[in-house]
């Protein structure tokens, strides 16, 4: 595999008022890699990945996404957001639009596609995530698992180079977690660069190329799944694993 860094975060610091939420986090992610970030709640892992598409800003350090520097420059932010897709814990589908309209909205208005092209892509994606028949329903009529799959399709419609997942299954009933993880698994197999914040250990073990542990705003350890789960180097990693396994 050729190592082609697509996300470079160097010594990133962020403060919420006095609270030092990110304390010098550095991480490099290569194209096609699947990185899973784990950690106790409040460790800053969600905040960290949200800096990648400028949903959160940062005060110190450097972040470069696909060669574009993340700064105050609006043009850069816009360009980055088109290349980075995000899936949220609360799905955040647009309730006043149908499933199909949810997916075609951004391609039409941001990438300026024609309606026909956008709809074709949308229908293909719906088929890929397994819910083609729900195309004309409203989000409120779908189950949680179905909604999250629509959310994934919506993000994929922009043909991003990177997909961010912020605890995608935490708000789902247990029986629906599997269907979403299956979609994410197939996405990983297809070669998408994915950064996933999750508590799903099984998924991490099977799909991740690398697992990162964050705690109290710091990056504690990163290793391959085998190394991470069977031979953790840091004390904090061992403590964390004891709590979740």
């Amino acid at each position: 595999m050729v190592h082609q860094p697509i996300i470079i975060a160097e010594d990133v610091h962020k403060w919420y008022g006095k609270f030092h939420v990110l304390q010098g986090v550095s991480l490099t992610i290569n194209a096609g890699e699947v990185v899973v970030i784990m950690g106790p709640s409040g460790s800053g892992k969600s905040t960290f990945i949200r800096t990648f598409n400028a949903l959160e800003d940062y005060q110190q350090g450097r972040i470069v996404i696909d060669g574009i520097q993340l700064s105050d420059d609006l043009r850069n932010i816009d360009a980055i957001r088109q290349e980075v897709g995000m899936v949220f814990q609360q799905f955040n589908l647009f309730p006043h639009l149908t499933v199909l309209q949810n997916i075609t909205l951004a391609p039409i208005w941001v990438r300026k596609w024609g309606k026909g092209q956008a709809q074709d892509t949308a229908l293909q994606l719906l088929e890929r995530v397994g819910i083609l028949e729900q195309a004309h329903k409203f989000p409120g009529q779908l189950s949680g698992g179905q909604q999250q799959r629509v959310a994934i399709a919506r993000a994929l419609a922009m043909q991003p180079k990177i997909m961010l997942f912020d605890e995608p299954t935490s708000a789902l009933d247990p029986e629906m977690v599997r269907e979403v993880l299956d979609v994410m698994r197939s996405l990983a197999t297809s070669g998408m660069t994915m950064v996933v914040v999750t508590h799903e250990v099984g998924f991490a073990r099977e799909v991740a190329d690398r697992i990162v542990l964050m705690d109290a705003g710091m990056l504690v350890e990163q290793a391959t799944p085998t190394e991470f789960f069977h031979n953790p180097q840091e004390e904090r990693t061992r403590r964390f694993l004891a709590q979740i396994l």
């Binding site: 420059d73 609006l74 932010i77």
Partner: protein, 304 residues
Amino acid sequence: MKQSIWRNQRFWRFFGQALVVVLILAGLAFLGSNLDRNLRQLGIRLGFDFLRSQAGFSIGDTPIPYQSSDSYAWALLVGLVNSLRVIGLGIGLATLVGVSVGIARLSDNWLLRQLALFYVETLRNTPLLLQLFFWYFAVFFRFPPVETPLRWLALTVSKGGLQLGELRVSSEFTALLLGLSFYTAAFIAEVVRGGIQSVPQGQWEAARSLGLKPGQTLRLVVLPQALRTIVPPLGNQYLNLAKNSSLAIAVGYPDLYAVSSTTFNQTGRAVEVMILISLTYLSLSLLISLLINLYNRSVQLVER
């Protein structure tokens, strides 16, 4: 990479504000210059010394002594006192009636519920002004003339007003007070009803299973909790009452607005009168809001 200024987020923040400020200032300058030009054409100079000149008009209700030879400032003060009289009593009466009707809306007596509903739906869906006209012209005008009043126990009733022993109130005052209070009470009733209904059913069940009777449950368990939901919109209704009191002019009661209006008619001092009215009503609104907020804080639940 050169950063284009048009794409910088911080630039747009600054520029956006600057643009708005420029627009607002330009607007105000436009209005101000017109005002200046028009006032000069009318020969009016802005200033508040006209308040010292003689008012020259009489006032019907004078809770503090007043003659037409007194100053405009004094006349306005009389107006203010009149406003405060009707607002204070109005809030009291409206609360009394409103809370009763609100509770009646939830009574287990069907007839009482329907009567309360009728009261609320009738008064809420007709304009207050119309109700005031009705009270004054269709009710108080039918009272016997001053020379031949109606006597009932210690109460003397005539077109001139009501008299109970030493206490005398004009028809205008009474019509305004009753119209204003009953109208506002209809809205207060709905606020109270909503508040009581917002208390979870489980509270009623727990109280009843402890053996409390409905009246006790209401008084000791439900109403104290309902107050949390009730107080803010209740305060809003009080504010409405205070503002609606300005309709006094429709029934000839000399409140602050009515006196200000007469002052304007006599002096042509639009800007000054407008400033006085605004400052006074805003202060009044602020005062009521403050008191309500203080009370609101005291009824909040103590939580972890």
